[in-house]
């Protein structure tokens, strides 16, 4: 739960004769993440001969899909347990050919007829607007003085076409307004015919072209076209009926063929990525260690002679190539979504979901502490999660429940219920309810100081987690000199000592900083020494990693290095200050919550009339909606910027197991 699922690397040597059975075992259960053998640099691996077969299956699958589309059958992949083996191409292809041949004649006729209908309709659309013009259509193109272009043009091009003709005399008619294919007619002097033609062509104007048998006036031609269109539509209906009959005839056969060819294609695609030796195949991939035993049994069932080598992968070291399968606990799904929005943990890295599951609702609750409003938020979360109310928030439902729960806990501690606090509770709600801890609005500096203390604890914890991750990945350069390394942590303690000296006994002075300052350590010396180390941490990191120590050459390069190093120190100090003070917002929002409630009470007045209660009700809805959202943003910001950035890098590769049935494929985040 603290880390992604433990993965084992699996290397198989599969005898050629058992290849298909083993592939079936690997792809049938959704636990094997394949690695392309071409990327492994294996020696003695020959050209994989399955490429053509995979291509042939792919083509065949598409042909079946096309046939099904033509006869009006839905493309479905019904799972047929027990028959998920690779089909023989030579036996299957004639079956598909037979059906295709039977269907193709009719479907080609249908497609041809549809195109013809489209053309006839287009010609009709172009001629209808000039149906009452009593001239021979052919005469338009035979004029001695005028050049005429009648046709359809993309509607988006009309304005540009007009602009392009501004320099030549012309008339431009839009004979038919249409969102897609307006009909236009351009007339201009014969002497400008080349300009008119170029403009029309470059605007993608498709001129009207009529078959020779369609002569006469527009009215005569439109009548002929209508007759042809009617006949064409009847022919199309007949052909569609024929295809539907063929669809019913071949339905079962096509569905079976589609499934068989589909799984064959999936398996062939996998085999293409196997390493092919003379009589065996090398298969490499990743399996969650918890599924390894089951898979091994299945593989042994599929092939007695298979050689299986498994290596549990340690979480230490760099593992950019190990796929990451996160442990999916449905109750933590919304928190996991928040984490993966920031980044997918890499294999050796701590998955911050559990930590965030605790800190996110607590920080939210501390900022939005109100017993009544917290419970309402919980209720909304439960209803949204169960799709009873505000279905759009379903994915956030559980997060609202957790945040609402902690908001109500803090409301209990702050003595706040629906914005009523202290004497207001007795006056209007007629019962006694005192803060169990403190009222933020009455103890502003205390709560702000407490927020900074909590922030320091969280930051130090985040630093420690960063160190932990560096140790696990054996990244010693960053362990010592990274921005959350040992040097940075000790410097942060020195920074807290300085903060304590500066703030002295003021109420806002962080108690944690004071406690750290009381440690028997030479903080002035530490502050100076570690400031120098922080300043040159880039230099030391380069030294540990074996990179060029100083970029740039000569005196100029060295001067630039010194300036950059000083800026690094400056940035680190500013960063530490802003990170620490950033947590003030937790206290500030707790105070603001009380302040906002007081504002609502000022609007409501003093007498408990209906108007008073309506104002309180609307005010509470406003606070829950508006402030609830802002606090959510602030909580997220604290996590993304202040906490996760200290120890979490992300960049993990998603675990994508082989699967036969596309409907079972995992939705990518």
């Amino acid at each position: 739960m603290l880390f992604p699922k433990q993965m084992s690397e699996v290397e198989l040597i599969v005898p050629s004769k058992d290849l298909v059975a083993v592939t079936r075992a690997l792809s049938g259960y959704g636990v094997f993440h394949q690695v392309d053998s071409a990327n492994l640099g294996l020696e003695g691996v020959g050209q994989n001969t399955w490429q053509d077969k995979a291509g042939a299956f792919s083509t065949l699958e598409r042909r079946i899909q096309t046939i099904m589309q033509n006869v009006g059958l839905a493309e479905e992949y019904p799972a047929r347990p027990g028959i998920d083996t690779m089909v023989d191409l030579d036996a299957t292809r004639p079956q598909v050919d037979r059906i295709d041949e039977d269907v193709k004649g009719v479907s080609d006729q249908l497609s041809g007829e549809k195109k013809r209908l489209e053309l006839l309709e287009s010609q009709l659309r172009q001629l209808e607007p000039i149906a009452d013009v009593n001239v021979e259509v052919g005469a338009l193109s035979k004029s001695s003085f005028m050049h005429s272009i009648l046709g359809v043009v993309p509607s988006a091009n009309i304005s540009r076409l007009r602009t392009s003709l501004l320099r030549v005399p012309h008339v431009f008619f839009i004979l038919r307004e249409d969102a897609q294919k307006p009909v236009v007619w351009i007339l201009g002097p014969k002497s400008n015919s080349d300009v008119l033609e170029r403009a029309a062509k470059s605007a993608y104007l498709n001129p009207l072209s009529l078959p020779e048998e369609f002569g006469g006036t527009p009215e005569q031609i439109t009548a002929m076209l209508r007759k042809e269109i009617e006949a064409s539509k009847q022919k199309i209906s007949g052909l569609e009926a024929d295809l539907a009959k063929k669809g019913a005839l071949y339905k079962n056969e096509l569905e079976k063929l589609l499934w068989d060819v589909h799984i064959s294609r999936v398996m062939a695609d996998s085999i293409v990525r196997f390493g092919q030796l003379r009589h065996t195949y090398v298969v490499v991939g990743w399996v969650p260690t918890s599924d390894l035993e089951d898979l091994t049994v299945r593989l042994k069932d599929a092939s007695r002679e298979i050689l299986i080598e498994t290596m549990a992968t340690s979480r230490s070291g760099h593992h950019a190539h190990v796929p990451v399968a996160l442990t999916n606990i449905k109750w933590l799904k919304p928190i996991q979504d928040l984490v993966t929005t920031f980044g997918r943990p890499s294999y050796g890295e701590l998955d911050p979901t559990l930590l965030m599951a605790l800190t996110f609702p607590v920080l939210y609750g501390a900022m939005f502490g109100d017993l009544g409003q917290g419970l309402v938020l919980m209720l909304v979360g439960i209803l949204a999660h169960n799709k009873i109310f505000m279905k759009g928030l379903q994915s956030l439902g559980l997060l609202l429940v957790y945040c609402g729960f902690f908001a109500s806990i803090f409301g209990y501690l702050y003595g706040s219920i629906f914005g009523f606090e202290g004497h207001l509770i007795e006056k209007y709600l007629h019962f006694h309810f005192e803060p169990t801890w403190l009222s933020p609005i009455g103890n502003i500096l205390t709560i702000l100081g407490f927020a900074i203390d909590a922030g320091i604890i969280l930051l130090v914890f985040a630093y420690l987690l960063g160190l932990f991750n560096n140790v696990r990945s054996r990244d010693w350069a960053h362990f010592w000199f990274g921005h959350t390394g040992v040097v940075a942590l000790v410097f942060y303690f020195s920074f807290l000592w300085v903060l304590n000296v500066l703030l002295g006994d003021t109420p806002i002075a962080p108690k944690v900083a004071r406690a750290i300052s009381e440690l028997p350590l030479p903080f002035p010396t530490l502050a100076g020494a570690f400031a120098v180390l922080v300043m040159f941490s880039g230099f030391f990191r380069n030294m540990v990693e074996g990179h060029t120590l100083i970029e740039g050459k000569g005196f100029g390069g060295f001067a630039m290095f010194l300036v950059q190093s000083f800026m690094d120190l400056f940035e680190t100090v500013i960063g530490m200050l802003s990170n620490t003070l950033s947590f003030v917002r937790v206290g500030a929002f707790a105070v603001a919550h009380g302040g906002l409630s007081l504002a609502i009470f000022s609007l409501a007045g003093e007498k408990p009339t209906i108007g008073f209660w309506i104002t309180i009700l609307i005010g509470n809805i406003f606070i829950i909606g508006f402030e609830g959202l802002i606090v959510y943003i602030q909580t997220m910001r604290l996590h993304y910027y202040e906490i996760l950035g200290k120890f979490f890098h992300g960049g993990g590769m998603q675990f994508e197991p082989l699967k036969l049935n596309p409907s079972q494929e995992e939705a990518k985040p």
Binding site: G41, A156, Y204, E551, I633, K668
Partner: protein, 361 residues
């Protein structure tokens, strides 16, 4: 509809985090210092692109494969931004992303035109898929089926129901008579930018202002380069130039484009629109070498506008758009580096082509 602070809280936080992961000019200089292609790949493995290259061994990597892998990062960035962006802005981001699909579509059509000259033992699809942008599940084009269809007409038939059907149905009439992909490619480009502009104009408030500013700057760059190239290289007439360009943008006005189309001095038009770009006349004197330099300078103008989007109010679509464009420019730089190192170009030949300099970061 979520907008403003509520709509952009998560995405602006995320985009800022991703923005900090972009390579700095110093990183780019360090990568450029790599002595050869394999050292460059090793150096890239130490950057955020590392995870896209980690499964591959240096000695098995071809430049084309590395480029494909690093483009995956941009594809992931788009997916991430689309998922988190406020709903009303998603069509704009999706349309911006379609730029790469249009590129894929053009590559597929070109491959069909040239497939007969390829060695027969290598399947056409295997050749093509290596150069396609990894568009993933967003793709609406059946690329493999198109390549295997064997003819441009059959391939375009397969686009029925896609966003390109209508555009190509008009352009195919010209293709069938001219047997040249130029009209198809121009139609696809114009349609892409028109849709993108229309999506930006659908937004409101700050989103609209920033969307038009960033998309408009990019459109200016394309529109200017189109009109100049069509004029100088293709020798097209005024009416054709007008029809093959667009009448909108951020800085560049329709009058500017029309003036160039009508024969006005290109350098003076550019100098008026971009007063900080100097020596335009000299660049245009030798178009073969000057036009790429001019394009480079115009791209840097767009980059500066993108960087500026990160200053001030972060709750608008400008941030995600700017980040995506900067990521794209970064990958263009990396492609320059990869190609330069694999063909052993001298420093002075490729460094001036890099977009990311201290000026633009």
């Amino acid at each position: 509809m979520a907008s403003g602070v509520s709509g952009y809280a998560a995405i602006s936080t995320r985009v800022r985090a991703m923005y900090s992961d972009l390579l700095t000019p110093q990183d780019m200089t360090r990568l450029g210092d790599s002595p050869d292609f394999s050292s460059l790949v090793s150096a890239l493995k130490g950057t955020p692109y590392g995870r896209y290259l980690s499964g591959l061994k240096d000695n098995e990597l071809t430049p084309r494969r590395v480029i494909l892998q690093i483009r995956h990062r941009l594809s992931d960035s788009y997916s991430s931004v689309v998922q988190q962006a406020p709903e009303q802005t998603r069509p704009l981001i999706r349309q911006l992303f379609r730029y790469f699909e249009v590129g894929n579509l053009k590559a597929v059509l070109r491959s069909i035109q040239t497939v007969s000259s390829w060695k027969s033992e290598i399947a056409a699809w295997d050749r093509v898929r290596e150069v396609l942008f990894p568009f993933g599940s967003f793709s609406t084009i059946p690329a493999q089926a198109m390549v295997e269809s064997g003819s441009v007409a059959a391939a375009v038939e397969l686009l029925r129901g896609s966003p390109y059907e209508s555009t190509l149905s008009f352009a195919m009439k010209r293709f069938s008579t001219e047997q040249n992909l130029f009209p198809l490619e121009v139609a696809l480009d114009l349609n892409y930018w028109r849709r993108l502009w229309a999506e930006a104009k659908k937004l409101s408030g700050k989103d609209r202002e920033m969307g038009l500013k960033i998309i408009g700057s990019l459109l200016d760059l394309n529109n200017l380069m189109w009109v100049i190239r069509y004029k100088i290289y293709h020798n097209l007439s005024e009416e054709e130039l007008i029809n093959y360009t667009l009448p909108f943008g951020y800085h560049v006005r329709d009058e500017d484009i029309r003036a160039i189309a009508a024969g006005a001095d290109i350098a003076s038009v550019i100098s008026r629109v971009y007063p900080n770009i100097s020596h335009v006349s000299e660049l245009l004197e030798h178009p073969e070498s000057g036009l790429p330099k001019l394009e480079h300078l115009l791209k840097q103008q767009v980059m500066q506008r993108c960087v500026a989007a990160f200053i001030g109010d972060p709750f608008h679509i400008g941030l995600p758009l700017a980040y995506l464009l900067l990521s794209d420019f970064e990958i263009q730089d990396l492609v320059v580096l990869i190609e330069a190192k694999s063909s052993k170009l001298k420093d002075e030949d490729f460094r001036p082509l890099l977009l990311k300099t201290a000026l633009t970061h």
